[in-house]
């Protein structure tokens, strides 16, 4: 059995699930969390494909920039800290 393939399938499945959850999550912050999972798993797949440098740079640059998105998500969208979707005006 090829363990590279198993790891690749596991990471890809995680990445696809997280990518679907990015668009289907009701709360913006959940989307940002799943986006960070997606970006880190893409980095892991790069490392699996023997491209260690680009994988680590992917994690440093993209996953490192997620907090910025997070800040925008908090500061520019809702007035309250946390609000149920059905309670929104």
């Amino acid at each position: 059995m090829e363990w590279d393939l198993v790891a690749f399938i596991a990471f890809s499945a995680l990445e696809l699930v997280a990518a679907v959850l990015v668009v289907t999550s009701k709360r913006l912050v959940h989307s940002v969390f799943w986006l960070s999972v997606t970006l880190v798993t893409i980095g892991a797949i790069y490392i699996l494909l023997r491209a260690e440098f680009i994988g680590l740079v992917q994690i440093v640059v993209y996953a490192g920039a997620v907090p910025i998105l997070f800040l925008f998500g908090i500061m520019l969208t809702r007035r309250k800290i946390m609000e149920e979707p059905h309670e929104a005006e």
């Binding site: 959940h30 960070s36 994690i59 440093v60």
Partner: protein
């Protein structure tokens, strides 16, 4: 010059080979036994023999050896170093404040004086048993208290992200230790590790996500403000940190921590011929002026040290959890061991940051040592692990000293220092390093 005492993976592999070989031998013995005694038909022991053969196959031994090595690294990092660093910090700042600090230790335990024979040695301790120890058990007691406490979830909190955030913070902190070598042998990622420094930076960069999620999901204005401040600070200090590493990488020509340390262990006159007068051929063997980056890239060292201080959220930069303003910052709503985890792992990030500083600027685990021949085994003294830990603890003590001597600075000052002071100095350091290389001063 191999001066390490422990080869972590080799040790684990030997241990697992021994244990698996023993168990496999017992299983084949049992398989042969039940066939010869006659309680089972011939061939009934085949599954046991197959199992024994599987257990002794190279990939099973390799897998279990890797898992054991990772476990030992995690235990060494958390259980030993975390407790030791918290103890050292508490004792040290207590001395700075002219008091003795925590004192509950093994010798202050009441039952020792009541033991039948050796109890007489501890008789005096009975009167004030909590005042005569070394204080090392105080942190253990705090940890036990935290484990016992209820793990509360605030009613309006976002339960999923609230519980995911400590896991993210703990996992990203432990990930640093996958690439952080304590010596040439005591490491998870083995010697040619071409992107080790980059790996540690990537793991450092994942922590702000967990901190922001923790701050947001508690649904509390204090935690949200703390998380926002923490993200703003960590983001703005990550940039000078990475820029200051660039100047080291320019000088060393590598991102491999082993290569960086090996280059730093050489005499400085080997890299800078102009400093040849520092070379002393008549000196003792192994004692010379080393090529540490702290000498050749001093501005980068300053920037990196300040950035690591901010990365730990220690007192001059502890705005994210300013007690007087924001209860406990982004970890206000956590209780029980989750609080212990996110609170204690700041020390672990401090350890990892100090370790990175020592590897990049202070020569890592190299230092003058004797080699004692002990039978067929030559024991280096002090061995590499000892040099590394002494340097790391000294750097950490300097951080403790700074953080208990200075007042907290304001958010605008923090961002001004980060963007207007540290980044220009880091760029200047890169310019200096490139000039040293370009004009042939540094080989």
């Amino acid at each position: 010059m191999s001066g390490h005492l422990i080869d972590l993976y080799g040790l684990c592999e030997g241990l697992i080979t021994f244990v698996n070989g023993l168990v496999g031998r017992i299983m084949t013995g049992v398989a042969g036994g039940i066939e010869t005694i006659g309680i089972a038909p011939p061939g009934a022991g085949a599954p046991l023999r197959d199992q024994a053969a599987l257990m002794n196959s190279p990939w099973v031994i390799g897998l279990i050896a890797w898992l054991t090595a990772i476990q030992i690294m995690i235990l060494w990092g958390t259980a030993i170093n975390l407790l030791l660093m918290m103890w050292m910090e508490r004792k040290f700042y207590s001395r700075l404040q002219d008091r003795v600090g925590i004192k509950i230790g093994l010798t202050s335990m009441d039952f020792l004086a009541r033991l039948p024979i050796i109890g007489g040695l501890f008789t005096n301790f009975v009167k004030r048993p909590s005042h005569l120890g070394t204080g090392f058990l105080q942190n253990v007691a705090d940890g036990v208290k935290m484990v016992q406490k209820e793990n509360l979830t605030p009613a309006k909190a976002d339960a999923f992200t609230f519980h995911a955030a400590p896991v993210l913070i703990a996992a990203s902190t432990l990930l640093i230790f996958a690439a952080l070598p304590f010596s040439e042998g005591f490491t998870i990622m083995q010697s040619p590790n071409p992107f080790g420094v980059l790996f540690m930076l990537a793991a450092f960069g994942l922590a702000p996500i967990g901190i922001l999620i923790a701050g947001w999901s508690s649904n509390n204005k204090y935690t949200l403000i703390g998380g926002m401040r923490s993200a703003a600070m960590l983001m703005s200090y990550e940039i000078p940190m990475i820029l200051s590493i660039i100047s080291v990488v320019v000088l060393m020509g590598s991102l491999d921590p082993f290569e960086i340390v090996r280059t730093q262990s050489e005499p400085i006159s080997a890299s800078i011929p102009a400093l040849g007068f520092l070379a002393n051929p008549a000196a003792l063997d192994g004692i010379y002026f080393p090529n540490w980056n702290v000498f050749t890239a001093f501005p980068a060292f300053l920037v990196f040290a300040v950035a690591i201080l901010a990365e730990q959220e220690r007192i001059p930069f502890d705005l994210p959890e300013a007690e007087a303003e924001l209860v406990e910052g982004w970890l206000t709503e956590y209780s029980g061991m989750r609080f212990g985890l996110v609170f204690g792992f700041k020390w672990l990030r401090g350890l990892a940051g100090s370790g990175l500083l020592v590897i990049l600027f202070l020569g890592g685990w190299t230092g003058p040592h004797l080699t004692l021949p002990l039978g067929g085994f030559s024991l280096p003294l002090p061995f590499q692990e000892l040099w590394f830990m002494v340097k790391v603890y000294l750097v950490f003590m300097v951080y403790v000293w700074i953080s208990w001597s200075f007042p907290r600075i304001r958010i605008d000052q923090i961002l001004n220092i980060g963007w207007k002071v540290l980044i220009p100095i880091a760029l200047l350091a890169i310019f200096l390093s490139i000039s040293l290389r370009a004009f042939g001063v540094y080989h």
